[in-house]
Point group: D2
Chain length 342, copies 4
């Protein structure tokens, strides 16, 4: 059985599971105050080149986005995001459930344009009715984006400059960060992210963990952030579950290895799709590939291999996401080749 | 190294971890729509003797309480709970964060008195200012309670009758349900709970899982409950994580075995405490024992074995919780015997 | 002193104030249960041709929009609105503060296109990821719109049909309804609005009252709506304040007279603007006129007569709102004529 | 027709209404930026002897309590209040709707005991589980209290000291402040309140206005408080409505005169009740008197004169509130005398 439905179809990377096994019966304090979480935090700070960073573990991406945004925004501020941003489209109103309004801008292959961000922030702050509006408080980006695309070092630096200019915080959703960091030709690494962002998270769930995301506040977290986590039902009693996993992910380069495997298999996937004449919606350098299928083709493929529905660009076609991951084997690709060849 | 600090100090019961290992590389759909979650739901329904029950998995207790209460209450309704109820005291305002007001009643060894519930519900509904108050919408109980005590079948039936009389829903927090079900002399079992409650959860985190609680709605869940879970950031992408674990917990009587071990070691613990003249705050039949220590004694013990701070009944004494669990070994008890004997 | 800044620059229409004076010392029950509120409700039901309608009074428009939307939407639903909708742009995140997400569509002179509403609702409901999104629960329109434009009977009927097709509620924000009902050539009246909408409000604040909006639910209000009002801090102890005012507004055609005066003076205003070569941004039939001024011109005018800042279409120009109202006198227009002529 | 049901049964004090009449057609900016609001703010600052105070006008008490508390509390903080506090009992969960948890303490004739506040704050901050609880962030008191009783200067000073000791804010709900300030033998005045509180409101609705409460922040308001008001639907477009009224209330000692009349008539009321052998629940120095009636007596009286239901201390008796106000005339008292004498 194979799948390209998403990058969370299997359990944990074997090395992560192995570490859970090894540590299983060692008693530890709860709520993230265990030795494994401490160790993971140290390793993440080192990987980010940011010894003063504060690191917290949460269990999933939507939870993380809502809680972090609500914590870094003042009541009078909204968050700027791309029209296609995960928080705007695929989180069932989780930010709004915490009172956070999303200020949507056009997307450019899933990305925000720093100049458009500047124009919006500037317009809001100059508006004589701004008291009746949301002040621009933060900018949300994902890297990779919803379309699997990546910001460049120059783009992130430009976004960060706009944020500083207007007193906004820059928040990066790194649900699939492993695949972004390991993409070919990217000039973005963790230290850069830590230097340009006020908050970001290193994705675990989609990058080899059973669950868990590591939130990093390079300049320190909002006051009483742990209480805030608890108040929003997001503090795991067995905080070690995330601690052990992130400790494993940041040992011996495992996080990078996981990202590399996802990217390599995505490249192979592109070759298979091309071989069978399946067009891609755009060229993306990470582990998600978006193919345009005729509806009939979509239905036929779906019966043989799970893929992800994305959208209907027109009544006759379906855009489908093929996701690879650390668990995508050569067999997966060979089998897909056969399915498309039938 | 030993601990009596709580019942979530170690990882998962080995049989649970084993099952995670076995299923790790089998691809499955996300968000709880996997085969393991389905299987776990079937087994839970069977254990509850309630084939029409709807079962959902969430990751922790505070999250579960807040989300379930917010989903079963109308905007004009509050929830009645004991003054010591977990939702009122130890959840950092999580229910209130979702707009849920707690209507506190006195506790009787951690329990609500059905007659006091009736009196409060009756008084609220008769109050000519009720439009300016909260209507009584639900009753929250925990079983075992915060003090490790248990309701009897007669008490649960009486509470349920009061709830029906006033159109309130009965919700049971079963964070430590395994230990409650396996207590000596209890006449409460899962089918009874399913028959008297409108919603309850079977605790995983404190009963052998890495994380996870199984919410059971015997008469069906509120409409679009999955979307509600997502909106509150509580839907795990790898829903299989809870599914696999609960599938294991409800296979071959593992959940009962876990509860039994916790209760047996708690009985042994009582013997050790009594041997050393340590008084208990009350006699409780489950896995939590509350001892009254002089502050000096508390500090001395704390250095040698982790125990849980509970409260200061007076400036000279500390009430301390000793919790046992599925992972409490004979060695734990022998070591405690030595520590207390020094 | 004159003003065109908005339509809430003066106090109440003299007839409204007179009625407050007459009734001032007659004791009445609080919280909207007074005889004046009852009378106002009866008159509003009659004006709407809808004897079964439920009518509630709130104090302002933003409050009304947020409370009504939160009450008619389920937790899993969002509200569709034009990009320029007041709830999306000028309410400081009030809907989001109650957990309501706005699903924005393009505006067409401030209006929603029924076909675009249909396409969005249809796409959301067909989306395989809809559980992770907001279901389309309601459609928000304002009449007159933010641009002072009006829906036609055919357009409202079409929107209503789309709403029924998808189980959405239609909600109309009538902050300036008096001016809409009295516009030349409109074929929309209160009975039509009551027949196509599930909820709407008849604006008081901008149509002659000191404060107050009358919410009408033609098919009955959500359960315990009064408690919901109280919970959101919107229940006036002296409910008579709104009751007396709306009773006056719906006596002897006063509401219509107020609307008529606003529209007539707006027509005269257009003539004055045209006479001085000031271009309008669009042709609108109600009491708001949007003029395009060079920034220098804007600054100069602003010193002599208050007008409303609207937006900067480009760095050199400012769109300014000239609002007329029941209190706009001939002197206002003559004075403006002089100012523009200088 | 007479009434003792509450202190908001009539409209506005004639001098307040007169001022609304005089200012009615003078154009002013909206949203509280009018000259009347400015003038009222100046007069209130002067009356409080606090030239640096920030003053905002809201429309009602429940709204004011919820918004001010939510604005002065951090997310991790709750508010301490008496078990009988209005926010805890009679606001339909309005604080909780904004995520504010009430930490209830016993009441002593409606008042908090500073030592009990100190004990609770101290216990919370020392609790090793405080991260899972609410930090003590503010203390809510009402003056007069729900029972019409008053704090002394010494008690307020002691409460303020406790607040400063634990970093809590002191907030005073002055819904009926006029009657409290004018009570015989009180040693509490506005400058004292301004010097001990971090926030308080001067009640308008129950003290002679049609609506409106004046929130005073002696040391400045929370950042962007106006946007916060708007976000919670509480900003009146015609802010002048409150401004004009408070300007009148604080001109020529009107607020004091209103309070004095309420207190004097309450003293006369006590005499009437005593004359007819109706026992009072407690002796209160302000405009609310609580009488204990047999249920039959309650029903008989209710038919002849509106009084306020308070509670049922036992199944045979009803505690009833008789409220006087600025509009209570001698005729009211004579008529009550006759009714009780029948």
């Amino acid at each position: 059985m194979i799948t390209f439905e998403n990058d969370y179809s299997c359990g944990a990377h074997p090395a992560v599971l192995q570490r859970l096994l090894e540590t299983n019966l060692v008693p530890q304090p709860g709520y993230g105050e265990d030795a494994y979480s401490d160790s993971a935090r140290r390793k993440i700070r080192a990987a980010c080149g940011c010894s003063g960073a504060e690191v917290h573990f949460l269990s999933g991406g939507t939870q993380t986005n809502a809680i972090v945004l609500a914590s870094i925004l003042n009541a009078w501020e909204g968050v700027i995001a791309a029209q296609t941003g995960h928080i705007h489209v695929h989180e069932a109103g989780a930010p709004e459930a915490l009172g956070v309004k999303v200020l949507a801008l056009p997307e450019h292959q899933g990305k925000l344009d720093p100049e458009e961000v500047r124009a919006l922030a500037s317009a809001l702050l100059k508006d004589e009715n701004v008291e009746h509006m949301m002040y621009p408080g933060a900018v949300y980006i994902s890297h990779p984006t919803e379309w699997g695309t990546l910001y460049t070092r120059a783009e992130l630096t430009a976004l960060s400059a706009v944020c500083r200019e207007f007193g906004m915080r820059l928040y990066l959703d790194g649900a699939r960060l492993a695949y972004g960091l390991m993409a070919r030709d990217t000039d973005v690494d963790l230290p850069l992210i830590a230097s340009v962002c006020d908050a970001f998270y290193i994705g675990g769930t989609k990058c080899g963990a059973l669950c868990g995301e590591a939130v990093v506040f390079p300049h320190g977290a909002p006051a009483h952030f742990r209480n805030f986590i608890k108040k929003h039902g997001a503090m795991l009693a067995k905080g070690r579950l995330c601690g052990v996993q992130f400790d494993a992910l940041f040992t011996d380069g495992l996080y990078g290895e996981i990202g590399r495997r996802g990217v390599e298999t995505a490249e192979q996937l592109k070759t298979v799709l091309a071989k069978h004449g399946v067009p891609c919606y755009m060229d993306t350098p990470t582990n998600q590939q978006f193919a345009i299928l005729e509806n009939g083709q979509y239905n036929a493929i779906q019966e043989k291999v799970p893929v992800g529905f994305w959208s209907n660009p027109d009544p006759e076609h379906t855009i489908v996401r093929f996701a690879t991951a650390w668990y995508t084997t050569d067999e997966y690709l060979e089998e897909l080749d056969k399915i498309l060849g039938r």
